[in-house]
Structure formats: C-alpha cells, structure tokens
C-alpha cells in the first residue's frame, strides 16, 4: 500500500493501489440515487488534518429499509449488551417469545458468581412473559405481574428488571407502574426499561436507556466505601472471553481497586456503590459514557478514556490512571508491572510478526472495537484498509470535539436525556481545580475521546453501518487477508476464502485484553491468516488462473 504523505492535498491518496474515491463511486452507483446520497455521507475516505480534524461522517442514522445491516435493536442494546452481563439481576423480557429467546446466553460475557456471597447467577436463564394473542388484545400487565412474582418466588433475587419489546409500546402496557407496584410488594428492587426495538436506530438507543435506568434505580443506593487506595470503576468492558478477568488481574497486581465494572463480571451491589469510586475509566465510550457523565455531575467522579486492547495501549492506560492519582508509589508500581509483563508479550509478537507483517485487515464491529483492535493489528505489523462501526455516533469516529455540531434527528430525540443535578450531600469533587488544570496542561485528557478516524491513515475507508452487500463488494475488490465482524458476516466472508475473526464473541476464544490477551490474539491471528485450509480452496485439477481483482460491483 502506498502510504500517502499527510496534508499533501495535491497528492492522490491510494488504498492498496486503488483509488478509494473511485471504489466508493462504483459501489454507490449501484444504489438508487436517494439511497446513494444517504450512504455517501456514511462512506468516507479518511484524511487527517491539523489538530486531528477529519472529514465529517454521518452516523447514528436509520438504516435504509432493504439494506441488510449488522445492527440489532434498542432492546438488544439495553437487555443484551448493558444489563445482560450482570449475573444477579433477573431480566424478564416482556413480549412475545422470540426476542427473549434470541438474547438467551448468546453473548459470551463471562462471570464469576463465587465472587459475591449469595452466588446468584441468572445469566443462564431466559425469562419471558411469552405474550399470546390474549395479551396483545387485552394488555399484558397482569401477566407481567405474575411473571415477576414467579421469578421472585422461585429465585429470591435481589433485583428484577423488565425489558419491553416492540408490541408492548403499542398496546400501551405501563411497565414502570407495574414495576413500582411489585417493588413495593416484594421489597426488592424492581425496575423497567422502555426499550422497545423500534426506538432509536440501533442498539445504541438501548445503551442510553439502560444507562439512564441503572443510574436512576441503582447507582447511589449504597454509600459504603470499599477499602483500597486507588479506587476506580471500569466502564464499557463486558468481559467477553474473560477480558475483564485479565484486566482485573493487572489492576490487582498494580494495587488498583475496582469498585465496579459496567458490566462484565458484575453484580448489582457493585453498581449501587460505584459512585464511591474516585475515577471512572471508560473502555467502550459508545455504550456507557452516559453513566460516567451523570456520575460526574451528581457525585463529582471524573472520567477518562482508556483502552486495554493492545499491549502498548494497556501500558498507556495504566500510566494514565497512575498519573491521575499522582502518587509516586502507584506510578512506580505500574512501571514495575509493565516492565514485568511486556517482555513476554514482545517475544510473542516478534515470533509471529514475520508472518503477519503487511497483511491487510478490515474491521466492522460495535461502537469501539473497530477502533481498539487496530492497536493489536498495528502491533502485528498489519494494515487496516477499512473500518467502521455498527452503532457508533459521530463522536466515536471524529472525537468528542464534534459533539456540539451533532444534529439530533427524530430517531434520537425521543431517547430520554436525564437532567442530573449535584447531589447536595454526596457531591465530592475528587480532584481540585488546580490539580486538574495542572494535569491538563501536561496533556492529560479528562472527559475526552479522540475517536477512531484521527488514528487511521489517510485514504483508509471509514464506513458507518456497513451492509451485507457492501461487505461482499469490499471483499471482492480488496481481497483483504482478514475481515473482522460478527457471526452474521462470518460465513459469507469465509465463502470467499478469507478468514473472518469474530470480534463480538471472539470465536469462542479470548481473552484478548491486557498483556496475556495480546499474546492470545497474536497467535490466533497468525493461525487464522496463515492456516493451510485456504490453500485447499483451489482443487489441484482446477487450472484456471485466478481472476484478477474484478472491479465490477454486482
């Protein structure tokens, strides 16, 4: 790939020896004009200017009907993503059976029930009101009450949460009043989410609704201060494949205490006193920044962006946390841990890298992983030709600096924004204005995320809400060495003889976070891109020379 020099506007950028603008034009040409106009704004050729300024990308907009995207619904984001990984809340899906069935233990969030005294773990269960005709016609509140009662009688949980699916919003069930009533009756925390699938444009709306709900109903219920000198929360880490376990291991080694994780390996008790932590560290900005913002306003806990995907990113994030606390003891300890962990990682990388160097990857996943994983590929000497999010917003692409410019469309307007005020008693700014200013002067960024695009090379294609058909076109045109997405894309891409790494479920591998995770990932990618299975794609008797990269879109 000819790397384009920065800011030489006269020079034509190329991507993998092709003209990315032309590739884009060819793909757009297949769409009806109106669709092409819309997609064009979500399909951007990267160019990083001064201060990390990048082209504008349209994101968080409704998928055009008939285009097969990767996105799920609001309910999936609320129930599946944010609250699913919490083991000791009973999650009841209020709706017909499918929605609950399909979200039943299909994400690979790991959890350790032993770490809470009651040992509750309801993640292997799927509770649903399984609405029938009768409820659709006469309303489902009665059945919902029964379902809550049954769940309580059978399991005696600490909390029950109710998630509404599409039909519920239409038949007009008031899940919140049912929850209030049952909360009173049962004496445990019962709360509901109006996360009907048609709200918003993707899972993202559900994340927001989940954040609001946890904040309203759970955060701040327990003021006990956990022991520990450096107490933080890790936000937006869902413990896929044991990622959170690896990060916990590193934190423990450094002497950093985790009050709560949102929401990998989590318990509702930890959410309840998470406001007592002294710092919020955000992994996946998209899914959880709302809780961090609200916690800061109400309780004075500042937040920073971290990334534990990639060994060097991990080291950088640890240093950032140490710098925030500013205690020499912690700074030294963190350096010691990094010095202890890195050699093994670097040895593994050096062994693998000759076989991965120069390979070309594409990543289309989530609202942060498409960015974070570029770190690991960089460590392997691989290039990212194209990347995009499934449900990211503009700030996840271009950085939070664009927040004031984001236009709120009709789909997002109806997602509630909570008005949060300082807690009169419990607000406690964790860090003085002077110290904050001092840190900022030294280049420390609070409440900031720079986004994915400033870190990508010029000419790379950044594509929001990639469709299945566009996936096929990219594969045909570029024949990348590796494609990263999810299970829905996996088998189509592999039909073309190109390996697909699932970055939602990790292909049942992992962890990939932290130091040990990086080593795992190097080996896994080496195995995938160099597997002999691809050699057999061409049968020995099949003498046809391989068709040159065909350019036509069909």
């Amino acid at each position: 790939m000819a790397e384009a020099a920065k800011d030489l506007s006269t020079e034509k950028v190329t991507l993998d020896n092709l003209d990315p603008e032309e590739v884009k034009a060819r793909i757009m040409a297949k769409y009806p004009p109106k669709v092409a106009r819309k997609r064009s704004k979500q399909f951007v050729i990267n160019k990083v200017g001064e201060d990390g300024k990048t082209p504008v990308i349209n994101a968080n907009v409704r998928t055009v009907p008939g285009l097969m995207g990767q996105r799920g619904c609001c309910y999936a984001g609320c129930k599946g993503v944010v609250l699913g990984p919490t083991r000791d809340i009973i999650n009841i899906t209020h709706g017909p059976i499918g929605c609950g069935f399909y979200s039943w233990l299909t994400r690979r969030n790991q959890t350790d029930p032993e770490s809470t005294p009651d040992g509750h773990n309801f993640m292997t269960y799927c509770f649903s009101t399984d609405m029938q005709d009768e409820e659709i016609i006469f309303g489902g509140e009665k059945k919902l009450k029964q379902a809550i009662q049954e769940a309580y009688d059978n399991f005696k949980p600490k909390a029950i949460a109710v998630f509404s699916t599409c039909p519920v919003g239409l038949i007009g069930d008031d899940v919140h009043s049912v929850c209030r009533e049952m909360k009173e009756k049962l004496g445990i925390n019962v709360f509901g989410f109006s996360c009907e699938g048609y709200k918003g444009v993707s899972q993202s709306a559900g994340h927001h609704i989940a954040n609001n709900g946890i904040f309203k109903h759970v955060v701040g219920l327990d003021d006990t201060i956990k022991e520990g000198k450096y107490r933080i929360n890790l936000l937006g880490e869902y413990n896929i494949g044991g990622d959170a376990f690896e990060i916990e291991r590193i934190f423990d080694k450094c002497g950093i205490t985790q009050v709560a994780t949102y929401s990998g390996n989590s318990s509702i008790d930890a959410f309840a006193n998470s406001h007592t932590a002294d710092l919020n560290c955000i992994m996946c900005h998209r899914s959880i920044n709302y809780v961090a913002e609200m916690m800061e306003t109400k309780f004075g806990v500042p937040w920073i962006k971290v990334n534990f995907i990639g060994a060097h990113a991990t080291a950088k994030s640890l240093r950032k946390i140490a710098q925030y606390f500013g205690e020499q003891e912690l700074i030294d300890k963190v350096e010691e841990v990094i010095a202890e962990e890195l050699p093994e990682v670097e040895a593994a990388c050096a062994e693998v890298r000759p076989r991965t160097e120069g390979k070309r990857a594409m990543l289309f996943v989530g609202g942060s992983r498409a960015h974070h994983y570029q770190e690991l590929f960089g460590e392997l000497g691989m290039k990212t030709l194209s990347a995009g999010y499934e449900f990211g917003h503009r700030d996840d692409y271009e950085g939070r600096k664009v927040l004031p410019d984001i236009k709120v469309d009709a789909d997002s307007r109806n997602i509630e924004e909570l008005t949060i005020e300082k807690d009169p008693e419990r607000f406690n700014p964790r860090i003085s204005e002077e110290r904050k200013a001092e840190l900022e002067k030294a280049g420390f960024a609070f409440n900031d995320y720079d986004g994915m695009m400033p870190e990508m090379p010029d000419g790379a294609m950044v594509i929001d809400d990639l469709s299945q058909w566009e996936t096929d076109q990219l594969i045909k045109i570029f024949k990348p060495d590796l494609f990263c997405a999810g299970i829905k894309e996996k088998y189509t891409v592999q039909k073309h003889g190109i390996p697909l790494k699932q970055l939602h479920s990790y292909d049942y591998g992992g962890p990939y976070a932290g130091f040990k995770g990086a080593i795992n990932f190097y080996h896994e990618i080496d195995r995938m891109v160099n597997s002999r299975v691809w050699e057999y794609m061409k049968a020995p008797w099949d003498k046809n020379p391989e068709l040159a990269a065909t350019y036509a879109c069909d």
Binding site: G66, P96, G98, C99, F101, S128, A147, C166, P167, A410
Partner: protein
C-alpha cells in the same frame, strides 16, 4: 394457536423450548432459488433471526427488513415495505421476495397484501418484477413451526399453476423442518423411484453449500419458481408431519382441493415404520418397485438393530423440541427398544399427546410423560422426578443436561454448540442408522465411563 396458561403452575416462560414464527418463514424462503426473505417490522427481529439461523447452519443468511422506526410503528409500514423491496431489487435482483411479518407489524395491523398490490400497480418495470409472496407470522399466535408451514403454503398458494407435466411424474415433497442432509436424502429417494421431486423448501444447497469460486449474490440452490408453479400438475404430494396433518389447510390439502393433486400424509420418516410407509407411497405413486438399494439399507439397519439391541435394555430417554420431530423420534425410540419416558415440546398445536400415543405401544404409555406447550424449567422439574439415561433434542437442552448430569444427543434445530447441525441426518433408513449408532454408542460410553474396570471389550 397456543393454549392460554403455559403450564399448570406458571404464567410466564422460563427458558423456552420454541422459537418465533418469522424464523420458520425465513428458513422456508431460504429454500427457494434466487429468493431474498424480507421481514416486515423493526430490524432487531431480522438481525436476531439471521444470527440465530447462521449459528446453526454456519452459512450466509441474508434476511432483509423494512426497518420500522417509532414513526412507522405509529403510522404503518406501507412506505417502508416499498422502499425495502426497491432496495432489495437494486442490490440482489431476486426472482422472489418472501415477506413475513413480525409481531410489531401484526400488532399495528399492517395490511401487507394491500401494500403488495399497490407496489405492483405502481411499479414501472412490471416485466422485471420479482414474485412477491407474503405470509402472516405473528409470534403471539404460534411458534416457528407455524411460520414454517405457513410460508410453504403461501408459496404454493401464490405460485402454483395447473401446469403440464414433463416426461417424469412430478412429486411434491413437503418435508417439514429438517436438515439439509435430510433434504438431499429425500431428493435422492424420489429420483431413485424415477420421479421428479419438487421439494418445498429445499435449502440443501443454500444452507449447506461448498466454498465459492465466484461471488454469489444470492447463494445458489433452492427450488425454482418454475418448479413451484408446476406443483399444480404433480402426480402427488407427500407431506411429512403428523402434527401438521391435523392443520385444516396445508400446502398439500390446498393443492388437492384446487388442482386435485392427491395428498399423502405421513409422519416425519424417522425410523423403520414411517420410512416403510414413505417407500410404499412412492412405489404406488411412481408405479415402480422399491429400488434394491433401499432394501439393502433397510436390511443392514435391521441387522444393526438386532446386534446392538443388547445395549438398550431398559434405557430411558427424554425427547424434546419441535412437535413433529419429537413424534418421529418417539416412534423410532420405541422401535429400537428405548423407552421415550418423557416427550416434551414448546409447540402448542393441541395434538401432541394424541400423536405421541399413536406412535408408541400402549404398554409404554403409562410410563410416559407427555408435555405440550412447556418450557425447559418445567421439563427439568419433571425430569428430576422421572430420571432418564439420555436426552435427545437441540442445544438449548444443554443447561438442563449439565445440571442433571444426563448426556444430550443433539438433533433438530437449533444446534449451535456443535459443528454439524446442518449435516445431521434424521430421515430414511440411513438417518435411522445414524441415529441408532449414535444412541447406542452414547449408552455404551456412559456404561464404560461409569464402570470401575473400564472394559473396552463390549
């Protein structure tokens, strides 16, 4: 339609044993050549359903949706469905778009047939218009099986013509929800009888295909529209599924009524008796004797059954899953001497108990528990009391199998924790042979593992 009141004890469902209707419909549409399924509703359903089927079949699975937003949910999805059809056409140029509804569009009462009519009227290039087939699939009225059979019927009702037949007699085959390997086997059998099978659906290639040497816009394979049209001129229809046979109107009965194509109805041909029945019907319809090949298969199967029988004395199994599959497995179990001590389904057609009793010898009835319209929590409770040696069903039974420490033999759908979901053979003598071998080997394995000595000579 399901019975109100999930079980004796519970109103809600914990760990369901059935899936939702549009899934079944989408699967059927994947079995039609050059077809794109379209779910009319919000995008979550189609994403979930795609993902779910992909994790079983491990194949490309494109399902479009009309992507409702809040506005659409209030004002109806007419504009969305038209836009979706336009965009599917521009990307995929399909010959057929199979449209199924979700609970959302059903709840608001969208009139999809009317949308389709007006799309057709307004369409400017009528000669290139793909066939548009609609099936109504509210999940609050049935399971994935209602969606499946409904889509089969919709295809036939929309497309079948009083066609002329070619040289070979045509046989309409409505196999039910079976594996790609099963479909391949059925086609082979029909062809061996000298008949031209029209299988609806036929996803044996689209959902179990080879790697591609060239890009395929829509994976190759499936029953062609021409073939579906010709069902009106077939010599006979063979419809599999005893539960299905209780439906007032099916693809088979419709063709019988409309085009006088005689409908033969059997259970899923699992095991000796039901496969024999199928062979007899095919011999009669085709006028050809049963090919020697099958007599050989049957003979070898019986021989294996006689030889392996000693391991099955007193063995009890619990069967769960889709109604017709469980009925077929129950019949098979009784043939080989395994007691189907518990038969359970999440389906609620209302004919389950009677059907099961009709395929299992009467002396076993009182030792059996038959549970219709139940979830896994209820099944597990019953099993705690009953106690069986083996569970036979799909992957969702794994949690139960783990807690009860009873091995699970995976059959049917969904199987997302093994790699061979789409290759499992259930039907015909060959399917019976494979099932038999798997069951017996599992029992031997259990005995072997539990023995202190560790015999290898069994």
């Amino acid at each position: 339609m399901k019975f109100a009141g999930k079980t004796d004890n519970y109103a809600a469902t914990q760990n369901a044993c059935n899936l939702c209707s549009p899934l079944g419909a989408a699967l059927v549409f994947k079995g039609v050549s050059n077809c794109v399924p379209l779910l009319h509703g919000s995008q979550g359903c189609s994403t979930y359903i795609r993902r779910y089927m992909i994790s079983h079949f491990k194949e490309p699975m494109d399902i479009a949706c009309s992507n409702f937003g809040e506005h659409t949910a209030i004002f109806g999805g007419g504009a969305n469905i038209k836009l979706a059809i336009d965009n599917i056409r521009s990307q995929y140029s399909p010959e057929l778009i199979g449209i199924a509804t979700t609970c959302l569009s059903e709840t608001i009462g969208d009139d999809v047939p009317m949308f389709i009519r007006s799309y057709k009227e307004e369409c400017e290039d009528k000669e290139n218009l793909p066939a548009l087939v609609h099936v109504s699939t509210p999940s609050y009225q049935g399971t994935h099986m209602q969606g499946f059979h409904g889509a089969v019927r919709a295809l036939v009702e929309t497309l079948a013509e009083a066609a002329e037949t070619g040289d070979k007699p045509l046989l309409n085959l409505f196999p039910g929800m079976v594996s790609p390997s099963d479909l391949r086997l059925l086609k082979e059998i029909a062809a061996d009888f000298g008949m031209e099978p029209v299988l609806i659906p036929d996803y044996s290639d689209t959902l179990n295909g080879p790697l591609w040497t060239e890009y395929q816009r829509i994976p190759e394979g499936g029953t062609t529209i021409e073939a579906i049209k010709s069902t009106g001129g077939a010599a006979a229809s063979l419809e599999c599924g005893m539960i299905l046979a209780g439906e007032p109107e099916t693809a088979g009965t419709w063709l019988d009524k409309k085009f006088s194509v005689p409908a033969h109805r059997i259970g899923l041909p699992i095991g000796i008796r039901e496969t024999d029945k199928m062979m007899d019907i095919l011999a009669e319809v085709s006028g050809n004797p049963i090919p020697d090949k099958y007599l050989g298969q049957r003979g070898r199967l019986l021989d294996a059954m006689v030889d392996g029988h000693k391991h099955l004395n007193g063995v009890k199994a619990a069967l769960f899953g889709e109604e017709d599959l469980v009925a077929g497995l129950a019949a098979f179990c009784s043939e080989i001497g395994v007691i189907p001590a518990l038969c359970a389904t999440g389906g609620g057609a209302g004919r389950f108990e009677k059907t099961i009793k009709s395929v299992v010898p009467e002396r076993i009835h009182r030792k059996m528990e038959i549970m219709e319209d139940v979830d896994f929590v209820t099944i597990e409770k019953a099993l705690e009391k009953t106690g069986v040696d083996l569970l036979i069903g799909h992957s969702k039974g794994y949690a139960m199998s783990r807690r009860l420490k009873t091995p699970l033999l995976r059959v049917g759908f969904p199987v997302h924790d093994r790699v061979n979901g789409s290759r499992t053979l259930h039907l015909g003598y060959r399917g019976a042979q494979q099932l038999f071998d798997r069951i017996v080997n599992k029992i031997i394995e259990i005995k072997q593992d539990r023995s202190d000595v560790g015999y290898t000579y069994m």
